[in-house]
Structures are given as structure tokens and as C-alpha cells.
């Protein structure tokens, strides 16, 4: 029997009001925590994946699409570029490292990326089991791919045409798993890496299969030897201005900077995030108001209870703390519940998310969430302050003489 028990009992007695207030707080906190978690996870991922890539060169089209497709492996590629033009750019003195990418196939939704050993240098990849790919049709799996597809070293599988779906399987050539990468915490965990030759070979095979329309197109693609994009790292930061302009003006390709495009992308989503954030803050405000009103109204009835407690020897400060504690307890429970709901919701969203590349998870916490707890406690304190102050105004003797 102590102040905490009295508060709790009183809250339980007013179940409906208590539950309403808890839900309001939980709702606001839940939305805020989802926003915090999702936006940090997304921006972390964006940053990590584009860490060492200064520029992407690809077919003309939307620069954002080019970045999304070849750096984050989310969107479809803008098209292809001639391999010989690409190789010419790779020799440019301003380029420190250039990585060619050939996209086009997937296995169970995981993209098969044709590239060369520069790719593993760029991302700093290391092998967990087996080895890197060497010959055509040999692949190295990202750690997540290995985990979810349960492919082991020595296994073979067929790639499917396109970047999602298993519709059009390349039955004539099977890939063979040579190695599995260590978890990198970036996009490479979700990729299947092979050499460019394998990707060409896959599509040569198409030729014999008799999809006349598609085959003709594909044949042309292979004869001209095209690749999808080129990831470029500069020798010096000076090239930031010169090189993209050179690419955009003197070749039939476009250059896009991951940093600029992801900043642009974030400013686009940012509007939505801001709106939701204000919405959540608005709900928290309503929660505070609701707690305030219910405590304030309850004070009329509780005046007697509090007057009696005074008579029984409780000091004013003790009762002030009692009322404050109730408000704070409600918001604290609401905040914890909200965080739980937020994390669960995000985890559920992550499970149902289609793109495996940008999977969200609710199983991590971020430091900002501690602020949410503080905000919750602050709101509880604020809302109970005025009702609690009533304690100092109540004239015990007068209150107890009057009838209920």
C-alpha cells in the first residue's frame, strides 16, 4: 500500500478514461517512432550503399531512376549503354575506379549482377565461404540471398529474366554457386554477383529458344555488347564538376551523382514525413489535452478523497505527487505501448515489403526513441500540473463538510 498503489487503483477504477488516454498517447508515439525508425533506416541504407560511389553513368533518362536502379537496386534501369563507350570512359585519367554493371535477371527477386572484380574492391567485399566468381556462370551470393534461398556452395540454379518475378526462366544455362559473402550491411547482401560474360551468355541462349520478337532484340543487344551502367570513383574531388559535364555533353550517356539524387529523393519523401510528423504531434497534443481534461474533471470528485488523505496526515506535496504520478503513469504506459506498437508495425511492414533491397525492420532501436519517452513524460507532467495544483487550493475542512 503506497502512493503508487493508490494511483494505480484509481486508474483501474476509471478504466475507460485511462484506456482512452493510453491509446491516444500510444498512437502518437507509435507514429513518431515508425517515422523515426523508417527514416533513419532508409537514410542509413542510402548512405551506406552510395558510400564510395561518386558518379553513375548510364543510359539517358531519369537520373533518379539511374541511381535507384544501379546503386540501390530498386527501380528498373534506364536502358543500356554501349560497352565500348563505357570502357572508353573507364580509361579516363580522372577515374580512379570504374565498375561496369550488367543487370537483367533475377533469382527469386534477388538481382543477378554481372560485373568485374572492381565491384568487390568498391564495396570492400570479403568471402565467408568458398571463393569469388571466376568463370562464366559462376556466382557469389550475398549473405541475405544465401540465407533466404538456402543455396549452398556447389548448388546450381536458373536465373529468371527481368528484375522481379520468376516468369521467364533461362532454362538453358544454370548458375553455379562458388562462394558466399560475409554480411556487409549494405545492398550487396541482397545481390547475386557474377561476371558480365555470364549475363551475355544467358541472353545468347535466348536466341535458340524461339521468342522471335524478344530474341531479335536481345541478339542486337549482345552483338553491340551493351552494359547497364558504370559506377565511378574519382581520383580527386576536383572532377565533381568537370567529369559529369563531359559525360553529359560529349557522349550519348548521362551521369548522375548518388549524393545529389538521394538528397533530391529525400526532399521528395520529406514532405510526407513532415506531414505525418505534424499529425503525430497533433495527436500527442490531443492526448495531453485529454489527460488534462480527465484529471481536471476527476478532481471535482477526488477533492473529497484528497481532503480525506490530508486529514489522515498526508502533506500537500505528497498528494501533489499522487496526482502528478497518475498523469505521468498514463503517459509512460502509453509511450512504452506506442514504442512497442511502432516497432511491431515496422517489423510487420518489413515482412510484407516486396523489395528485399530496402527492407525495414522493427528490431532495432535508435537513440531518438529515448527522446520520445522523455516527451511522453513531459506531456504527462504538463497535463497533470494544473489539476495537481488544485491540491494547494482545496480547503479540506470546507470540502468535507459539504455533501458529495
Amino acid at each position: 500500500m503506497n502512493i503508487f498503489k493508490i494511483s494505480t487503483k484509481n486508474l483501474i477504477r476509471n478504466k475507460l478514461t485511462t484506456i482512452l488516454n493510453i491509446i491516444l498517447v500510444a498512437f502518437g508515439v507509435g507514429i513518431l517512432s515508425i517515422l523515426f525508425l523508417a527514416s533513419t533506416q532508409i537514410s542509413n541504407k542510402l548512405e551506406k550503399n552510395a558510400k564510395d560511389i561518386d558518379l553513375v553513368v548510364g543510359a539517358k533518362g531519369s537520373p533518379l531512376q539511374l541511381i535507384l536502379s544501379s546503386v540501390y537496386h530498386i527501380d528498373y534501369p534506364t536502358g543500356n549503354i554501349p560497352a565500348k563507350d563505357a570502357y572508353k570512359l573507364m580509361q579516363n585519367p580522372m577515374v580512379k575506379r570504374a565498375v561496369p554493371l550488367a543487370l537483367g535477371d533475377n533469382y527469386n527477386g534477388y538481382r543477378i549482377v554481372g560485373t568485374d572484380s572492381n565491384f568487390s574492391n568498391l564495396y570492400g567485399l570479403s568471402i565467408q565461404n568458398g571463393s569469388f566468381w571466376h568463370k562464366d556462370l559462376e556466382v557469389t551470393l550475398g549473405s541475405t540471398v544465401a540465407l533466404t534461398t538456402k543455396l549452398k556452395i556447389g548448388d546450381s540454379f536458373f536465373g529468371a529474366h527481368g528484375l522481379t518475378g520468376n516468369g521467364d526462366v533461362h532454362k538453358q544455362h544454370a548458375y553455379q554457386v562458388k562462394g558466399i559473402l560475409k554480411p556487409q550491411g549494405n545492398i550487396t547482401d541482397n545481390l547475386i554477383l557474377t561476371n558480365i560474360g555470364s549475363v551475355y551468355k544467358m541472353h545468347e541462349g535466348k536466341h535458340t529458344e524461339g521468342h522471335i520478337h524478344a530474341a531479335a532484340e536481345e541478339a542486337k543487344e549482345i552483338n553491340d555488347k551493351q552494359i547497364t551502367a558504370l559506377l565511378i570513383q574519382y581520383k580527386s574531388p576536383m572532377s565533381v564538376i568537370l567529369f559529369p559535364r563531359m559525360v553529359n555533353q560529349s557522349t550519348n550517356m548521362q551521369a548522375a551523382s548518388p549524393a545529389m539524387e538521394s538528397a533530391r529523393l529525400f526532399s521528395l519523401i520529406g514532405v510526407g514525413i513532415d506531414t505525418l510528423q505534424w499529425f503525430a504531434i497533433f495527436i500527442m497534443g490531443i492526448a495531453a489535452l485529454s489527460i488534462f481534461i480527465s484529471l481536471y474533471n476527476a478532481m471535482k470528485e477526488r477533492k473529497y478523497d484528497l481532503a480525506i488523505m490530508r486529514c489522515l496526515g498526508a502533506s500537500k506535496s505528497k498528494l501533489f505527487f499522487l496526482v502528478m504520478f497518475e498523469g505521468v503513469l498514463v503517459t509512460f504506459i502509453g509511450t512504452c505501448l506506442g514504442l512497442l506498437v511502432g516497432h511491431t508495425a515496422l517489423e510487420v511492414i518489413g515482412i510484407y515489403q516486396e523489395s528485399s533491397q530496402a527492407k525495414l525492420t522493427g528490431l532495432t532501436a535508435i537513440p531518438q526513441e529515448i527522446y520520445l519517452i522523455w516527451i511522453g513524460l513531459f506531456i504527462g507532467t504538463l497535463a497533470s500540473l494544473i489539476p495537481a495544483m488544485q491540491i494547494y487550493k482545496v480547503d479540506i475542512a470546507q470540502t468535507l463538510i459539504k455533501d458529495r
Partner: protein, 208 residues
């Protein structure tokens, strides 16, 4: 022992009350009589430390009530004075036993579970220990509030118009209960009333 001397109180609205000196020895039982408006409630509030008088002093077992700080006075009241109101005023979210325990907790004393149970038994409501106040009748509530006033073994038991809303039979019972419980628990008793039925039980009177 309780002693009040040269006590007077002036309300903001200008009402001026003066109280004659009064000495109550240990375990004495007194009636505080007076027409309504004569200052009975004011005097009770002053004696129980709820209302600071404009003038004069209240000594309870040698402690001058109004030289204590507000916080000390609250605690002193909790430990030494049991108050029974005209209305039972129990905390509705707590059951009967919790209401008794509350009295100890609020006064900062340890909970004596055995004593609480035996108090309830003495008052014939032992079986109600786990009931909530709104499940009890007026008479039962009145008994619980007497038990609550006795929890901390007070030196002084104050009852304000305990019989005014009761019929003859119940009024008799309540007075009986108060006088015997005060005696058994070694407390002095003051009953403020304008109810003639009470006079038959208690001889010492203080008239306002």
C-alpha cells in the same frame, strides 16, 4: 491531554469567534454543544490542525499544534488525531482494508495488518474487509470510518455530527460504538453535535 487557551478566529468575511479555555484529560469523553453557526466546526478544525486560528494556542500532549510547520502538522494529525466525519468519506477506489491501510501509510506509520483486522472484528464488519465502499450500507460505512480513525491508535478521537443523519436506533449504536471504542483504544473523545440524543451518554459538555 489537550488544552486550548485564549483561542479566537476571525474569518475573512468578518465573522469573529472566541472560544473559552478547555482542558481535556487523557481518555476523557466530551460533548461539544452549540447551535449551528456557533463555531463548532471551526473549533473542531482548529483542534484537528486543519485551520490556523488567528490567535491562541492548541496544546496536544505538550505539542503546540500551530508552532509546527504545515507538513509536520499534517503528520501529527495523522498520528495523534482520529477524525470521524458526518459522512463516512471513504476512498472509493480502495477496498475496506486498503482504506484502513491508507490511514497508516498517509501518517507515515507501518501497516499493522493484525490490528486492522481486529478493529474490523470489534466493529462487527470483519467479513467486509475485501468489499468496496459502494457495496456497503450507510451504517457499515460509518463503522469503517470509525475503524479508520482508530487505525493509528490516536490520543484524541473527534466526531463531527456523527448521528445527524441516523435514526434513533442507529444513532444509539454509533454513540455506543464511539464511547466504547475510544475507551478500549485509550483515546480521548470529542463529539460535536446539536443532537439531544447524544447527551444521555456523555456527561461532560463544552458549550459554545
Amino acid at each position: 491531554m489537550i488544552k486550548i487557551s485564549s483561542l479566537a478566529h476571525v474569518y475573512d468575511k468578518g465573522r469573529n469567534l472566541k472560544f473559552p479555555c478547555w482542558e481535556i484529560a487523557d481518555m476523557e469523553q466530551w460533548l461539544l454543544l452549540g447551535a449551528s453557526g456557533s463555531g463548532k466546526s471551526t473549533l473542531l478544525n482548529i483542534i484537528s490542525g486543519l485551520l490556523k486560528p488567528s490567535q491562541g494556542e492548541v496544546l496536544i500532549n505538550g505539542t503546540d499544534l500551530y508552532t509546527l510547520s504545515a507538513k509536520e502538522r499534517d503528520r501529527f494529525r495523522g498520528r495523534h488525531i482520529g477524525i470521524i466525519f458526518q459522512r463516512p468519506h471513504l476512498i472509493r477506489s480502495l477496498d475496506v482494508l486498503d482504506n484502513l491501510e491508507l490511514a497508516a501509510v498517509m501518517a507515515g506509520l507501518p501497516i499493522d495488518h493484525e490490528r486492522n483486522l481486529s478493529l474490523l472484528a470489534d466493529l462487527g464488519i470483519a467479513e467486509l474487509a475485501k468489499n468496496y465502499p459502494d457495496e456497503l450500507s450507510q451504517g457499515q460505512l460509518q463503522r469503517v470510518s470509525v475503524a479508520r480513525a482508530l487505525v493509528n491508535k490516536p490520543d484524541l478521537l473527534i466526531a463531527d455530527e456523527p448521528t445527524s443523519s441516523l435514526d434513533d436506533e442507529n444513532a444509539n449504536q454509533v454513540i455506543q460504538m464511539l464511547t466504547t471504542q475510544a475507551k478500549d483504544n485509550g483515546a480521548a473523545l470529542i463529539i460535536a453535535t446539536h443532537d439531544g440524543r447524544v447527551r444521555d451518554h456523555i456527561t461532560k459538555t463544552y458549550l459554545l
